[in-house]
């Protein structure tokens, strides 16, 4: 069985796998299972659906690129965190963490690769939403003047919005390391939080600073001000940075569960 010894290298001459390679592996993991592929297809379909509904059902003054991109962005953003959750939690739900961390024992690099793969998937989602919105608008033929107005700025904001939503999922995945728990918490907790701050007027002021659904939605719907940017940042710190830090700390410190 000489093939066992095909390419014996000098062991110490090897360098750790470059981060770009780990990111490529993480991207591949998100498309190489049926569940992963269907989720991506579903996100694409939601973008198309949102654009069609906007063109067919919405008032004609919404038939412009900014509103189309806002609507497709907001609709896909419901599913993007699930993609982020799966990037991380599937390692535990599918027991692959053991294999991943024996092949790449520097766990921090794996976490970084997952977060960056998540950001790249968010870029891809933005590209899809942009393309779908532009196609819908072009297909409609003539429309109100200035319907392409502010397209570049809208794409920039949509990109930030998508990245934040995807990283929210990555953070929840790191914190809970279980797909069902992370997904349920993602759907339940921010909604409950919004309801709470909506019902209790005393909390409404605080809510604007902490509730991602109010702060971040401005990225999709427009009307950004310095205060709203600050609110986007504080909500991101609470809902993305904090779960990511706590979750990463646990992944780095704790024994890898089989």
């Amino acid at each position: 069985m000489s093939t066992l010894y095909a390419t014996r290298p000098a062991p110490m001459a090897l360098t750790p796998p470059p981060l770009a390679r780990l990111i490529r592996v993480e991207l591949r993991k998100s498309v190489d299972t049926r569940a992963g592929r269907w989720l991506l297809v579903l996100i694409g379909l939601v973008a198309v659906g949102a654009a069609v509904v906007t063109m067919v059902a919405a008032h004609a003054n919404e038939h412009n690129f900014r509103d189309l991109l806002g609507n497709t962005g907001e609709m896909t953003a419901i599913l993007l965190p699930v993609l982020g959750v799966l990037l991380v939690s599937s390692e535990w739900s599918q027991h692959t963490a053991l294999t991943t961390f024996t092949l790449s024992p520097r766990r921090g690099r794996v976490i970084a690769a997952k977060a960056m793969a998540g950001a790249l998937l968010a870029v891809a989602a933005t590209v899809v939403c942009t393309a779908v919105s532009a196609a819908a608008l072009a297909a409609a033929g003539h429309g109100p003047a200035g319907r392409w107005h502010g397209a570049a700025a809208a794409i920039g904001l949509a990109l930030v919005f998508q990245i934040l939503n995807l990283l929210l999922g990555v953070g929840f995945g790191l914190l809970f390391r279980s797909t069902p728990v992370a997904v349920v918490v993602y759907f339940a907790v921010p909604t409950a939080f919004s309801l709470l701050t909506g019902l209790i007027t005393a909390l409404a002021g605080t809510g604007r600073w902490l509730d991602p659904s109010t702060a971040w939605d401005h990225l999709a719907s427009g009307g950004m001000t310095a205060t709203i940017w600050a609110q986007v940042a504080t909500a991101a710190a609470v809902w993305i940075l904090l779960p990511m830090l706590i979750g990463s700390w646990q992944v780095l410190r704790r024994p890898v569960d089989a």
């Binding site: 069985m1 093939t3 066992l4 010894y5 095909a6 390419t7 014996r8 290298p9 062991p11 110490m12 090897l14 360098t15 750790p16 796998p17 390679r21 780990l22 490529r24 592996v25 591949r28 993991k29 190489d32 299972t33 049926r34 569940a35 992963g36 599937s90 599918q94 027991h95 692959t96 963490a97 053991l98 294999t99 961390f101 024996t102 092949l103 790449s104 024992p105 520097r106 024994p255 890898v256 089989a258």
Partner: protein, 300 residues
Amino acid sequence: MIEISELTRRFGAAGIRDVSFICRPGSVTGFLGPNGAGKSTTMRVLCGLDRPDSGTATIDGRPYMRLPQPGRRVGVMLDPGAMHRGRTGRETLMLAATMLGVDRARVAEMLTITGLDASAAAKRVGQYSLGMRQRLALGLALLGDPGVLVLDEPANGLDPQGVRWIRTLLREFADRGGTVLLSSHLLHEVEVIADHLVIINNGRIVADGSPQDLRSSRSTLVRAVDIAALAAALRAAGQQVRAADGGDLVTGALVTDAESEQVGRIAARAGAVLTELRPQGDDLEELFFTLTTTEVQEAA
């Protein structure tokens, strides 16, 4: 070379304590012990998946975490269940090949070596039998063309041909200068290929040596009408005493390192009536059972 030195990892009263042994290049080390004795814990700590409370475990003089590309130096198989059920066998290997930076042709070679044909490679792992999963996990361990193998119960779930296949594979690997550490709870699985045996029980190493060494470490098995009195007499005479093979020191037999004649003399002085007295040690299996049951008795 694998060097494990005074490794301790506690889980309450369980875990491993002061585990030390060395696996040399060109040899197969059989790591034996009953389920729960600490084999997997030792291997997990060795592979950087768990931290020791104290002690060190190194491969080529470095902790696993500090190896620049551990997957290219050490092939690890700790749990054949650690694979995504929704990925195909080929894809599982392909992902690892990308991480390791090895040629894609190596994936096809591994499928051939492990005997997974084209239709098996295209199936999702969730549809695999335990034996197929075991083969794929071994392919994963061999993928990076390592010089060291760390395998936890590799023969589990394999049919007799599979067991024979893995024996040949590991023997050849070691004969070409590779270092193999493989665990098992079954002596007969490893005694055929291992040239070094390390036996662990209750988290402590209870024997370490070549099968020949272990066979020649003779002891004496004794039965008596009043076994407790005889045990006390032997202890008073400075001899080590253990209960034999799952028994206790009230009704069972005892094993001592003293020779038959010595035992006879001590028994005569104490007025103990012997019902059986025989040297043992030629039988590795008996030694294994003796070593792995007594500690439990003492701990109980």
